[in-house]
């Protein structure tokens, strides 16, 4: 009988609730602060252990990552904070409480719901006031990157935070960008001379560990400030890579100007086993004061590791196996990844200009190219030039930089 009662109680929850005061928590010592005109925002992100200490619940285990924000409105009119800018699918405070109601008694749940509600970040800040609180975002591995858009009288300000979490170092933080090129190699270009450089000077492809290796086409060129680039990749859902990541170790064997990518980003869809890789290298050129990055975007299939031996093996290289790979694999159709990136930036309001130039050289299904790490591919041979903007661009506001190239079209399929 006692056992039966115990079993029944296991389902109903008998705990009380005690949340901690967020203002005294240790992670606040890592808060970063930024100011624009008369607005100051501080941001801090508790890690998994700190989150459990704070809320009493292992939220990271449920894919939820709290972001703490403190916003000061020094202006003389109200300010509106857009929570959706931080995460388009954030969890509401009471939603997080309700998801975790099971372990608590009725009173315990009341207390918990009140704690989450009281410590949620409010959207409206009256003139001259200061507010702080949590936004419950989806957990993403790595440095916590997010935008905070605030509006006053229709004028927007975008703050972008990259809050490091203990134990994660993004690859690009290890690159000393000021030392990459000697001053005499740096060139200021305009759009016309950029096109010439891309079509006639820039090599078709990245390299690999050995001289003469084909590391795959350099099929994207991004133009924009560093901030615009990081913001646009954030908005598009791209994830950064740890400097010591073993998952994307292969990506670092790709070379441009004799070095590994300065930054590797990736993006995967929840219902698939492919992931998109984006490798970026800072180029020694600028355009209207903005940086230019050369890069490559392609699909990486999880089975691809099996193929890395193929490139070195003459027999396999001409095998039916490889030709089937090229006929069927997602990764072989490398232009599809290029199209995805274009649309991804376009719909996330980051793209201000776009152009198509030549420079890669076409290859086809019947005459594919093969990278040093075993990716057979075909392409119509174009590069996409993508100019990204710090401020949002409407769908119809994208300037066509270069266009009208009559493509060879479906002949790459033959």
């Amino acid at each position: 009988m006692v056992w039966l009662l115990c079993l029944l109680c296991a389902g109903c929850g008998i705990q009380g609730y005690r949340g901690t005061d967020p203002v005294s928590a240790a992670y606040l010592s890592r808060a970063l602060s930024q100011s624009q005109s008369d607005i100051t925002i501080s941001a801090a992100v508790p890690d998994a252990v700190e989150t459990e200490e704070l809320t009493g619940i292992d939220l990271y285990d449920q894919g939820i990552q709290p972001v703490w924000l403190d916003i000061q409105n020094h202006g003389d009119s109200p300010l509106r904070v857009v929570l959706r800018s931080i995460d388009s699918e954030y969890f509401s405070p009471i939603e997080v409480a309700y998801m975790n109601r099971g372990a608590y008694s009725g009173e315990g749940y009341e207390a918990m719901q009140r704690w989450f509600y009281r410590h949620g970040l409010p959207r409206l800040l009256p003139a001259g006031e200061r507010r702080s609180g949590f936004v419950y975002t989806r957990h993403r591995p790595g440095t916590k990157g997010f935008n905070v858009d605030v509006f006053r009288k229709g004028r927007g300000h975008t703050f972008t935070f990259f809050v490091p979490l203990p134990g994660f170092t993004a690859d690009y933080t290890r690159v000393d960008f000021s030392q990459l090129y000697p001053p005499e190699r740096l060139r200021e270009l305009d759009f016309m001379s950029l096109r010439t450089v891309l079509e006639t000077e820039l090599s078709c492809c990245a390299g690999g560990p050995a001289a003469g290796d084909n590391g795959g086409p350099l099929n994207v060129v991004m133009v924009g400030t560093t901030l615009a680039l990081r913001r646009s990749l954030l908005r598009g859902g791209w994830l950064e890579t740890r400097a010591d990541a073993s998952l994307l170790k292969g990506a670092r064997e790709h070379r441009f100007a004799g070095r590994s990518p300065d930054a590797v980003f990736y993006r995967s869809r929840p219902d698939g086993n492919e992931s998109l890789n984006l490798h970026l290298w800072l180029a020694p050129w600028t355009l209207e004061g903005e940086s230019i990055w050369v890069g490559q975007v392609y699909y990486r299939e999880l089975a691809q590791r099996l193929l890395s031996g193929i490139a070195q093996n003459e027999a396999l290289r001409n095998s039916e196996f490889l030709s089937r790979f090229i006929r069927e694999s997602v990764a072989a159709d490398i232009d599809e990844a290029q199209r995805f990136l274009l649309q991804n930036l376009w719909y996330s309001q980051s793209l201000s200009g776009f152009g198509i130039v030549t420079g890669v050289g076409a290859s086809s299904v019947s005459r594919p190219e093969l990278t040093f790490d075993g990716v057979g591919y075909f392409t119509n041979g174009y590069r996409h030039v993508l100019r990204v903007s710090e401020s949002p661009v409407p769908l119809g506001g994208v300037e066509l930089l270069y266009g009208g190239i009559e493509p060879p079209d479906e002949e790459t399929m033959q």
Binding site: V82, L83, R84, S85, F91, S92, P93, I94, E95, Y98, M99, R114, Y117, G120, D149, F151, K153, G154, R155, G156, M192, R269, P270, D271, G272, E274, R327, E328, S329, V330, D333, E336, R339, F340, L342, Q343, N344, W346, Y347, Q349, I356, S391, P392, P394, L395, G396, G397, V398, E399, L400, L401, Y402, G403, G404, I405, E406, P407, D409, E410, M413
Partner: protein, 411 residues
């Protein structure tokens, strides 16, 4: 248009008058729908599961793949771009579709799929392109947008293509069937505010007796702009309640699986059930937003005015009456503000402001809806003017309506 572009365009014009790009892909059936905007003509058709099996020799629907046939004719003198992502933001590249079919043990030729697919997004001047975009399956009415870009311009068109299958709520909206010409009132802003504040505070049950969720939304816009904006923001139409779909919802609730079309129950305003019901699924059924709209007899600047209700589901409870019901977030203002942000970020919003009419309820003294869930609110109704053309975030205007507030709370 840049100088180079103009030269290229002229060269193209010299070389061919009207050409088809690639091999022409014929439509799958004669259920064609056509729209024309300026120099752009778009035709679409959606094959049902049987037609897809006949076309491709494989069951794509079973792998959650629904091909949409699109034909675009560009009679203009500049190149345009057709974005598959506009049709479904999580569309499948042809080879992604192929791999899903192969992984399920079916056979399918790559070439068949790729030759049928739209594989290039640019459509040169005076040319035509037709083919398939592989989208996720929508049962019943397939509703999607087609976005066509050119240099600093965009044409957007919404399509609703019936596909044999489930029955959804969408129908071509006929205002004349709801209101006679005499009932329709065009109002200036001060009168509009007063009229909106005197509208019912809340939805009612079928008998018109008990009050339910607060009517905290007002939308102003043509029905096609409304559908375009919500589809762009990832909202789906809902299914009408039938026994079959209730079972699917119950299974989905038990497994946490994602069933995009779980039905909503009917709620009543103006003595009728909702005119439009939409939902936005997130990663599981436990987390979705529901929205219901009723067209009012009011009109502003020639645009219809809609009254509505939105709720964020934070869980599913089991009931005897409808098998399942959703537990809503009691912080209904949070849900309302999220909708504002969602429409602004997906470029569907032109301006917004607030009126009263709902009546405030505090956290400690909440009111409750028809299924007994509590809610609290500041008592405001948000008024959103939808945009027929994409509007960037920083162009969205806030309109202060407080000068015309009446202090009325609707019944």
């Amino acid at each position: 248009m840049s100088y180079t572009l103009r030269i290229v365009v002229q060269l193209l014009l010299l070389s061919h008058a009207m050409m088809a790009v690639g091999a022409p892909v014929p439509p799958p059936n004669d259920r064609l729908q056509k729209r024309t905007q300026g120099d752009i003509t778009v035709n679409v058709a959606v094959p049902d599961a049987t037609e897809v099996r006949e076309l491709f020799g494989a069951d794509l629907y079973a792998q959650n793949i629904q091909p949409v046939w699109v034909s675009l004719r560009n009679d203009g003198e500049v190149p345009v771009f057709l974005s598959p992502m506009g049709i479904d933001h999580a569309y499948y590249a042809p080879r992604e579709a192929l791999q899903r079919v192969l992984a399920a043990g079916q056979s399918l030729g790559t070439t068949l799929l790729e030759n049928a697919a739209i594989r290039r997004i640019e459509i040169p001047p005076r040319s035509q392109r037709a083919g398939y975009v592989f989208t996720r399956v929508d049962e019943g009415t397939k509703s999607f947008n087609v976005d066509v870009f050119s240099d600093t311009a965009v044409s957007q068109m919404s399509f609703f293509v019936p596909v044999p299958g489930l029955q959804l709520d969408h129908h071509d909206f006929d205002r004349d069937a709801l209101y006679s010409q005499e009932e329709i009132r065009e109002l200036a802003l001060p009168d509009l505010v007063a009229a909106l504040e005197s509208m019912p505070c809340c939805v009612r049950d079928g008998e018109g007796e008990d009050r339910g969720d607060p009517l905290n939304l007002v939308l102003i816009g043509q029905v096609q702009d409304l559908y375009y904006a919500f589809m762009r923001a990832g909202w789906d139409e809902t299914e009408t309640i039938y026994a079959n779909s209730l079972i699917k919802t119950a299974v989905s609730a038990l497994t946490g699986g994602r069933y995009r079309y779980s039905p909503v129950s009917a709620l009543y305003v103006f003595d009728r059930a909702q005119d439009v019901a939409l939902q936005r699924a997130r990663s599981s059924i436990h987390e979705r937003n529901h929205l219901r709209l009723w067209m009012t007899p009011l009109q502003f600047d020639g645009q219809p005015v809609w009254l509505g209700q939105i709720s964020r589901d934070i869980g599913v409870r089991f009931t005897t009456r409808t098998i399942t019901t959703h537990k809503i977030d009691p912080d209904v203002d949070e849900t309302r503000e999220f909708l504002l942000e969602d429409l602004a970020y997906t470029q569907g919003l032109r301006q917004f402001g607030y009126v009263g009419g709902v009546g405030a309820a505090s956290y400690d003294e909440p009111r409750s809806n028809l299924t007994g869930d509590p809610y609290f609110t500041d008592g405001k109704r948000i008024v959103m003017w939808l945009s027929g053309t994409p509007t960037a975030l920083n162009e969205v205007e806030f309109i202060d309506l407080s000068a015309w507030h009446t202090g009325l709370i609707g019944d």
